[in-house]
Amino acid sequence: MGFLAATVITAGVFCSKSGNGDDNGNDNGFDKTAMLTNYADQLIIPAYQSLQEKVNGFQALANSFLDTRSTANQQALLEAYKQLHLQYTRVEAYNLGPAVVASLEVYLNYNGGLDYNFASNGELVGFSIDSTTIENNISSGSYDLSLYVRNSFYAQGFAALNYLFFGPNAIAKFNTNTANRVKYAKDVIHRMKSLVDRINTDWTAYRTEFISNTRTNVGSPIGNMINAMAYELDVLKGPRIGWPFGKQSNGIAFPTKVEAYFAGNSAALAQESMRNLKKVFTANGSGKGLSDYLISLDKAELASQVTAQFDLLISKLDMLPDPLSTTITAQPAKVEEAYKEIQKLLTLIKTDVASATGVQITFMDNDGD
């Protein structure tokens, strides 16, 4: 029993040390539930609602275009498309809970997965568009968009919208097999809409679960958000910019593999994805974000380091003009600069932030190496 007493005494002696330490009022802890509530109510749910509105708006304009396939209608649709896709990048970091259940990312904006090699894995990698499958689906008129296979992902969502509405000779192509083509376009939009609707509905119920789970293990909201931040940066470093730029392939660029190739707003999407991710990190400066959680853990320096790196990265991304498909070959130095900053931010998130918040990446047992 003696050693328990000794322990308590020594601990008592040492705790007095913390008094003159550098703890910034974390004695009262940090209200993780308030943080999560703030995320749910101020960021996530409004972002999905806005996505829903934009999908509806896009659907209406698409219907007008499909009725009257004029260049003017196409232009109007393109603007709506860009707004819709930008809004999607604002929910991308919330790839947890309902979005995972619905497989939102793979059906709406498939990036090909992070485990692919651009140089040696053939055609359907990164943000490809599977025009062959799309055309086959149209001519046969029979398809199942809920199929969970790569070809299916590459033939719907933003990839399909790009090709059907803004691809080469998009308007002219509607003149043959019109009924089938119109139906396919409508089906693709309808599927996007139903997925987004479902997520909006699901969040109503999921909200309670989200705000009450303050753990940091795998599958927990905090764990998911930090992993999603690292994932977003991995996507930027790989399929969004790095791989089409030729990082995996000895500098051989793949211009057609950029996101939203035909709509041509890939750089804008990349920029917005990081602007939004910074918002996720700071919870839009509300004082109830992951950055504030870091501050409460005596990691104020890290929090400002990450914010500063976000700013630096965004400024480098802003130097990349659209269309990105030309920029990656026309201005490689600028892309290279941005790439370096992506990697720096990714390192901070994967090492320092993950470490400080005690977030785990897998379910496997580990004894703390």
Binding site: T10, Q248, T351, D367
Partner: protein, 461 residues
């Protein structure tokens, strides 16, 4: 001087002779029987748990590449059916050990299969898996099937009530090694003076009922650190001492149950230790414990104690074993620089929950002219767990770099050079470059010596 040395030598011999008497002294077999049953059952449950959670597939079937141990490159997974067969054998032999059926065969098979699985991938190294391998090895030699076992039902002549004291002592020794070295490992400035990594890990546990709010308090982190260190260092001595044993075991329960609550990621380790520590109890305690089991009968008139046939050889094996167990955990002293940073001599040393380390590793492959330039996508080859483990451990980085050189050579790059840009954060200090990114890792060899391409550790300002 010489005389003194002579005197010391003869003293040593006398001591060993006395000890020889005490370690061969016949004692009750019952602690060994409890241990056998508990170990077998726990291993059975642990194997099913691993299987049930889908880890056989996740760890040994899906990955295309494995981080083999140096010298054990021939240990490869057997493919899906093969791996499940292996796990079936492990589960079956664990049950056979528990019931004492074909005990010798079961322990040998269990040891071989379990150790084989653990040698497949460094990624899955856990101290308690190592502990299980060691205990399984010891159990091969121990007469733990001579009472309350199917083996003695079949051949009652094999039944024994007494065994040489060392057969129980060796397991106590093994537990002592685990605890004591785990305690010694905690005697470092980060752990004691900064309460790291507890200070990092505990705030992540604020969801726990009642104690949750305390998790942000510094003094709690210090309490956990200091109590943990003292516990590990002292518990064996309190368990050995009869007068303190019962309260010490209460501490075993408190300590390990709280670890299980606070750090569920640690898996079955707490339960392994809780059950194993029963070995310290007296034979009368075990007698009572076993008497609750159906059909247990320790009465009878067998007075002959179990004796070993090849005693001399067995003693030699055990002496070497004991020596290795004492030396392996301190081998890190032969390496320069900070152990937690280089991890040279880190494994197989009972360092559990000792540091918070995270890394990010980026590799590039160049051809011999340096003109061709490929950025490696780790996700193409590694699972997230493998990547995480590799990013902070130099020997895994080297193993991976060699694999990359082979892979890119197959892809047609002449004499590939592999460079790693690796960043590591240790115990909350800001991440910094871990290895020399100008070194061609493809040309670096595996070695027992210090790897000079690991950048020196710099203490946090």
């Amino acid at each position: 001087m010489w005389h003194r040395l002579q005197a010391f030598r003869s003293h040593l011999w006398t001591m060993m002779a006395i000890n020889r008497q005490s370690w061969e002294k016949p004692v009750s077999i019952t602690p060994l029987i409890t241990f056998r049953i508990a170990f077998g059952l726990l291993m059975f449950v642990s194997t099913l748990r691993f299987w049930w959670r889908g880890w056989v597939d996740a760890v040994y079937v899906s990955p295309s590449f494995h981080f083999t141990y140096w010298g054990f490159e021939w240990v490869q997974p057997f493919g899906r059916p093969g791996m499940y067969l292996l796990y079936s054998i492990i589960a079956c032999t664990a049950l056979m050990i528990a019931v004492g059926l074909l005990y010798r065969l079961a322990t040998v098979l269990f040891f071989i299969c379990f150790t084989y699985v653990e040698l497949i991938d460094v990624t899955t190294y856990l101290n308690h898996y190592y502990f299980i391998s060691l205990v399984a090895f010891l159990m091969i030699w121990l007469p733990a099937n001579r009472l309350y076992a199917i083996d003695v039902l079949i051949k009652p002549a094999k039944r024994r009530l007494l065994v040489p004291a060392w057969t129980i002592g060796i397991i106590r020794f093994q537990l002592g090694v685990v605890y004591f070295f785990a305690g010694l490992a905690k005697l470092n400035p980060d752990w004691l003076l900064d309460a790291q990594p507890m200070k990092t890990w505990l705030p992540a546990k604020s969801h726990l009922p009642i104690v949750g709010a305390l998790m942000y308090k510094d003094w709690v982190a210090y309490l956990f650190s200091w109590f943990g260190a003292l516990y590990d260092l002292c518990i064996v001595f309190f368990l050995l001492n009869r007068s303190t044993r019962l309260s010490a075991y209460a501490f075993v329960l408190i300590f390990h149950i709280s670890t299980a609550i606070f750090f569920p990621g640690i898996g079955l380790f707490p339960y392994v230790m809780i059950v194993s520590s029963l070995i310290f109890f007296s034979s009368s305690f075990h007698e009572r414990l076993l008497s609750f089991l159906p059909g247990y009968k320790a009465s009878g008139h067998i007075v002959t104690a179990y004796t070993f046939t090849y005693k001399k050889w067995l003693y030699r094996i055990m002496l070497v074993y004991v020596g290795l167990q004492c030396l392996v955990p301190v081998r890190f002293l032969l390496y320069p620089d900070h152990l937690f940073w280089t991890e040279e001599g880190y494994r197989f040393s009972w360092r559990v929950m000792l540091m918070e380390k995270a890394g990010a590793a980026y590799f590039t492959v160049k051809d011999k002219t340096g003109k061709q330039f490929y950025t490696v996508n780790n996700a193409e080859f590694l699972t997230p767990l493998q990547e995480k483990m590799m990013s902070t451990q130099p020997d895994m980085i080297l193993r991976y770099a060699h694999f990359l050189a082979d892979t890119y050579a197959q892809r047609g790059i002449a004499q590939p050079r592999v460079y790693g840009e690796v960043y590591v954060t240790l115990n909350g200090a800001g991440s910094r470059l871990f290895i020399d990114s100008s070194v061609n890792l493809a040309a670096e060899r595996f070695s027992w010596k210090h790897y000079p391409w690991i950048l020196p550790y710099k203490a946090a300002n």
